[in-house]
């Protein structure tokens, strides 16, 4: 399989590897670095990571599919990741999610036709004190209701 990994990423990965006692321990940061490049992890990225770290490809796939922060297909410019775990669920996460579904016309796992938004439901984001909450790409937003959500969407181009 020919991997199309830019030198810039390769250098970053070398740098990451130098900080870990064992290569396989660097799997998460290496996957993050790869994802940053294209916005998602392709099969070829996974294979390259497996090869570089000396891990079987199936083990890399386990990690990629376990964490919702890794994506296996391209996402829109703004990836809305709504927490549906206990605290958020108790504070109306389901309502927020269905509001988004209706408003954007997409279901979880989908991207709007204009490429602006992707929607996912995710497990606990570690901000239960601000439930219900979501993440847009790497930014966190808490204490949301429909109005706050609408305002937030306005600002996202």
């Amino acid at each position: 399989m020919s991997h199309n990994i830019p030198d810039r990423v390769k250098r970053r990965v070398e740098d990451i590897l130098s900080r870990y006692p064992r290569r396989e321990a660097a799997l998460l940061p290496v996957l993050s670095a790869l994802q940053e490049e294209r916005g998602f992890l392709s099969h070829s990225d996974e294979e390259w990571a497996a090869d570089t770290l000396g891990i079987p490809p199936a083990k890399v796939r386990e990690v990629v599919t376990f964490y919702s922060l890794f994506r296996r297909k391209p996402a829109g410019r703004h990836h809305l990741q709504v927490c549906t775990n206990v605290s958020c669920a108790l504070n109306g996460a389901d309502g927020l999610l269905s509001h988004l579904r209706k408003k954007l016309g997409i279901a979880e796992g989908e991207t709007s036709a204009d490429g602006r938004f992707s929607l996912s439901s995710v497990e606990c984001l570690g901000h239960c004190d601000e439930a219900p909450c979501l993440m847009v790409n790497d930014e966190h937003y808490g204490r949301l209701d429909r109005r706050a959500l609408d305002e937030l969407l306005e600002k996202l181009e």
């Binding site: 199936a58 796939r61 386990e62 599919t65």
Partner: protein, 508 residues
């Protein structure tokens, strides 16, 4: 040693033993799914939970070690209740298509449900539909609706074959077993997966839908397909309608033997059982059978003995050549040595077995015979011979086994041996070789007889018949005993041999 009490029974176990293993040793079986004795416990299925006096919660027996003075209950009302609850959760997302599942009848989940629950499902929600026929490679199919996510398959590929083709993808209730695109399960031990999957999630297309587990009769034998000689079960059933003596082999399963193969067998041994039936030699054949009016395999003994004796008396035993094989048992090779070498003083006794293959670095050896070590120990020459050497100045040629054909073409054999007056073949298989012989006598495969093999580690292990041979086929040890007696040079030596076991006891 640690002493503890399980179900009121005082037990002692080595420190570091788990409760599940200690109980098992004492004959107390604790239901379990994810635990497998070949791997360290992972404690994921919770089916093995037991009550330990003094501890507030139930503990998994598979991953809790015994302690001095422990009092364990494995069948108390609390344990049984917990077991029912675990079963309910396991079955909440289980396909329950047992009537069409290959594993039914030998399924851990089904057995445990029948023994402890038999409760109807309590969930109103529909079960999630998942892939039911996912090709995993190696002829294995995965049914994700049946999978209980015990990860036995994943751990097998991780720690035994070290190929790690399978993984648990996604998480939570979306978790599923899978492999990466273009990287299917591909190793010489893949067949073990269908065996260790405790439910019918991984099935084997070699066995799929062919029969039901409860029709099968599993008998112990030794795999003859390489020098390792793995312990196996050969499973057969006589089909419908049941006709005695026509049992057909349906499956080969591994049998635990820590000295040899542990829990595993390779795919060559597992899927190779087709040789049992292929081109099977079922009846006495050849022109000489007609001329001498021979009917049964044993009728051959008297004329052959007469011929051998006559040659010996004339001092012409140099005009006899014998071909043996390393598929013969120790007992048979010992008898062949006694009749041909000791009594008749025939110098030309060669060994011809199947061609070597490549070893796989685990169990499979290069030699594809079960008893090369035994043949060597009994002093047989295992070096290659030629057709010409066997034919040179030969009046009588006696061949045991079908393996000449692995090395020479039948046409070449026929032309090289055209000048040999009498040629006799004893074989369970005839793929055209028999045409070069005057007499073809049906014999049996190792799985159908008594005997012992010496494996590549030098271990001598005996076995008894796992399958009935065709009615007219006779085991070689029986023919050789009869021959030794009929030749008459040392008859009393052969008289006590009524079974292969008798021969074994007479061996040095």
């Amino acid at each position: 040693m640690v002493s503890l009490v399980i179900n009121g029974q005082r037990i002692s176990a080595a420190p570091g033993t788990t409760i599940l293993e200690a109980a098992r040793e004492a004959g107390i079986e604790i239901p379990h799914l994810c635990y497998h004795p070949a791997f360290p416990p992972v404690g994921t299925c919770r089916l093995c939970a037991v009550e330990i006096e003094g501890l507030p919660k139930l503990e998994p027996a598979c991953s809790t070690n015994v302690k001095e003075g422990m009092v364990v209950r494995t069948e108390s009302p609390r344990v049984v209740e917990a077991r029912r609850n675990v079963l309910e959760l396991l079955l909440a997302e289980h396909a329950m298509d047992c009537p069409i599942c290959d594993k039914a009848g030998e399924c851990r989940l089904q057995d445990t449900y029948q023994a402890y629950s038999l409760a109807p499902g309590v969930y109103a929600e529909d079960k999630t539909r998942r892939g039911k026929k996912i090709a995993l490679g190696g002829g294995l199919l995965l049914d994700r609706e049946r999978c209980v996510l015990c990860t036995r398959c994943v751990r097998f590929l991780e720690s035994v074959t070290k190929t790690s083709e399978l993984g648990v993808f996604e998480r939570g209730d979306r978790s599923e077993i899978g492999c990466v695109e273009g990287r299917l399960v591909d190793n010489n031990y893949s067949g073990c997966l269908a065996e260790i999957c405790p439910v019918g999630a991984i099935t084997d297309s070699d066995f799929r839908f062919k029969t039901r587990a409860w029709f099968l009769e599993a008998r112990e034998t030794i795999c003859p397909l390489c020098g390792r000689g793995c312990a196996v079960f050969l499973e057969s059933h006589p089909g419908f309608p049941r006709v005695p003596g026509t049992a057909k082999a349906y499956r080969v399963r591994s049998r635990r033997d820590e000295r040899v193969n542990g829990h595993w067998i390779c795919n060559v041994g597992r899927y190779g059982y087709g040789y049992l039936e292929k081109s099977r030699c079922r009846e006495l054949a050849g022109p000489l059978a007609k001329t001498l009016n021979l009917k049964a395999a044993t009728d051959v003994v008297a004329p052959l003995a007469a011929e051998l004796r006559a040659l010996k008396y004339k001092g012409r035993q140099t005009r006899v050549a014998v071909v043996l094989s390393d598929w013969l048992t120790n007992e048979e090779l010992f008898l062949a040595g006694a009749v041909f070498r000791r009594d008749l003083e025939i110098g030309r006794c060669h060994l011809v077995g199947p061609r070597d293959g490549s070893p796989d670095g685990m169990l499979l050896t290069a030699e594809r015979s079960p008893n090369r070590a035994g043949a060597k120990a009994l002093g047989f020459n295992t070096e290659e011979t030629t057709l010409e050497a066997l034919a040179r100045d030969t009046d009588l040629l006696i061949v045991f086994g079908p393996f000449l054909q692995d090395r020479f073409r039948p046409a070449d054999i026929a032309s090289a041996w055209a000048g040999v007056k009498t040629k006799v073949l004893f074989t369970p298989r005839d793929e055209g070789l028999g045409a070069a012989f005057d007499l073809v006598v049906p014999t049996v495969w190792p799985a159908e007889k008594d005997g012992s093999f010496t494996n590549c580690q030098g271990l001598i292990r005996s076995f008894s018949p796992a399958l009935a041979p065709p009615p007219s086929a006779v085991p070689e040890w029986r023919l050789l005993t009869a021959l030794g007696r009929a030749v008459g040079l040392n008859p009393s030596f052969y008289i006590p041999f009524r079974s292969a076991g008798d021969v074994r006891r007479a061996m040095p």
